[in-house]
Symmetry: C2
Subunit: 336 residues, 2 copies
């Protein structure tokens, strides 16, 4: 048996509308009455109906974070940054995983419309090449901030890192360590950040007069076994690379696994650098050279921007593009 | 301008109640009319109000997963198992992180009452030593299944692994590899699974006539730096252990970091075994010996049990306790 507003009214001998106004802290009700109502509500463990209350206030006090995966440490750390801000603001954070699947992303976008959440932080899936579901969210005036993997087709705030510079520096680092045939390993041709990293890779090759070999620009999927087979083929081929630049952590891990299987010595026969926030990069055999993004700060800035939208309605059309710096950390996998 | 049920009624020249019944597939409305209504709804991109509809049907088509953290690979894999089932059932999965904080767990439990979700899967936080918030959820008849870290105080289904055997086997493995002073590293004295692992540890010591040294049963927190300092103290002390059994992955990682700092050779000077689902255990230097739980299967079984509750009301009081087997995988960190 649940306690509703009628029960409170009956117990206090007050009208339902008085109870309702008292619970909403209306100026029409005296402080003394408000106190009586709130004490009775506490005593009877009255729980406001969240849907009714959400409809009235348009506030779920909840923000959604839509991300492709969580086995990637970047997202785990970014979520910590988001939660750091949300906790301050007394908001709940709920997390949805798309597993790099556009259909799941569309499903969530539709499910989350109409007041279930107050706003959304998003890093789009590797498959996403159509943005209708995001345009629809904007039409419904759901505040939306992109981080890391952004949607260029939509006007909104975004927090990214200097992906072009990161890609350039990673590639130049391999060149400076003696690599002449560098493979670029990537998840998707659609992702904003991957494309910038690839442009940085190409710019570094051009600067150092290394010709671009399209066969060394490789795309992978979510299927770990298939990825490893693809890497086996390139590393056992005649035109095998002497350097690998992985755009995402899991492709560096796949390369390590293949080198272990094929008895390829890292860094002697193959040097590896990767975008990664893996905390145990330094414990790998050999330790992994990384381009590390300020993942916690990215999450924090993205959440702060979302709350700017939420707290001031006139901010809804003021968009910020924040670009943070990543750091190259040289380790054993690119040692000379 | 949003399209509501009134707009549909006006466009079709039908009453609001007819539209409402048609959208609910009521037997009172002809198939022909239903088709007309649904076609118009699609044409105008009508979106039902999720709260109103949830109130009526008591179905959010959403389940919540409440877990302590995601940097632990066990939970990342368990979530994949949960999503595998939820996708089949066409349910959304939302994830809440407690960060091992009982206050956050209580906050979520209260936020998720009253129809926001249809059911909950939970692995309790390391701090949770009071269960009122969970008892309250049960009172509200929120279907609830525990996995890995369960709450013994509440009657509900649970999916765990053979934690006693895992702890016993881990400890006996270290003894067989020559260890005589084995430390047990743990997060909390409250967790159901940690306690069973510790009982297994004690039983193995007793079997092999090794006396139990309380100072070697060590408890840690969520603070990585503090954890490493605590490990530095024990590994540089006079009574330092020759074997470490970590109940959770992050304490094994902390031990590796300390050994790197203090120049302690693993496995020569210290052998390490850990409960872990770290995919790159074999790439660490040295590779890490693990007790690996069937994490995906645990998630899958937990979700299946939750859907048994959801689909059959008369199943609400039929509880299952499923215990799955974990596997000891010997690697370099315990080599002789």
């Amino acid at each position: 048996m649940s306690v509703d507003i009628k029960t409170l009214a009956k117990n206090l001998n007050l009208s339902i509308s008085t109870i309702s106004r008292a619970l909403r802290d209306s100026y029409e009700i005296s402080d003394k009455t408000k106190l009586r109502v709130k004490e009775m509500a506490a005593k009877l463990n009255y729980q406001p109906n969240p849907y009714a209350s959400s409809l009235r206030k348009h506030k779920s006090k909840t923000i959604a974070v839509v991300i492709p995966e969580i086995t990637n440490n970047f997202f785990a750390l970014a979520i910590n940054g988001i939660e750091y801000v949300a906790q301050e603001k007394e908001y709940h954070v709920l997390i949805y995983l798309t597993h790099e699947n556009i259909k799941k992303e569309i499903g969530f976008a539709s499910h989350l419309q109409n007041g279930r959440i107050d706003g959304m932080l998003m890093s789009i899936s590797a498959e996403t090449n159509n943005y209708d579901h995001l345009i629809e969210l904007k039409k419904k005036e759901v505040p939306l901030v992109f981080f890391d993997r952004i949607c260029e087709a939509i006007e909104s705030s975004s927090i990214t890192t200097d992906d072009f510079e990161g890609g350039f520096n990673a590639t130049e680092h391999l060149i400076q360590r003696g690599c002449k045939k560098i493979a670029y390993l990537d998840l998707s041709r659609y992702l904003s950040n991957s494309n910038k990293r690839m442009q940085g890779y190409i710019a570094a090759l051009v600067k150092h007069n290394i010709s671009i070999d399209e066969r060394l620009i490789m795309r992978f999927t979510n299927n770990i076994a298939a990825n490893e087979e693809q890497i086996v083929r390139v590393l056992s081929g005649a035109e095998k690379p002497d350097g690998v630049f992985a755009s995402v952590e899991k492709l560096a891990i796949a390369t390590y696994n293949v080198c272990q299987r094929l008895n390829i010595n890292i860094p002697k026969q193959l040097k590896i650098i990767s975008f990664s926030n893996l905390e145990i990069s330094s414990l790998l055999n050999p330790s992994l050279t990384t381009i590390t993004q300020p993942a916690f700060e990215i999450g924090k800035q993205a959440a702060l921007q979302l709350f700017r939208y939420l707290e001031k309605k006139n901010m809804m059309n003021v968009h910020e593009k924040i670009i943070l710096k990543s750091t190259l950390i040289p380790r054993g996998s690119t040692a000379i």
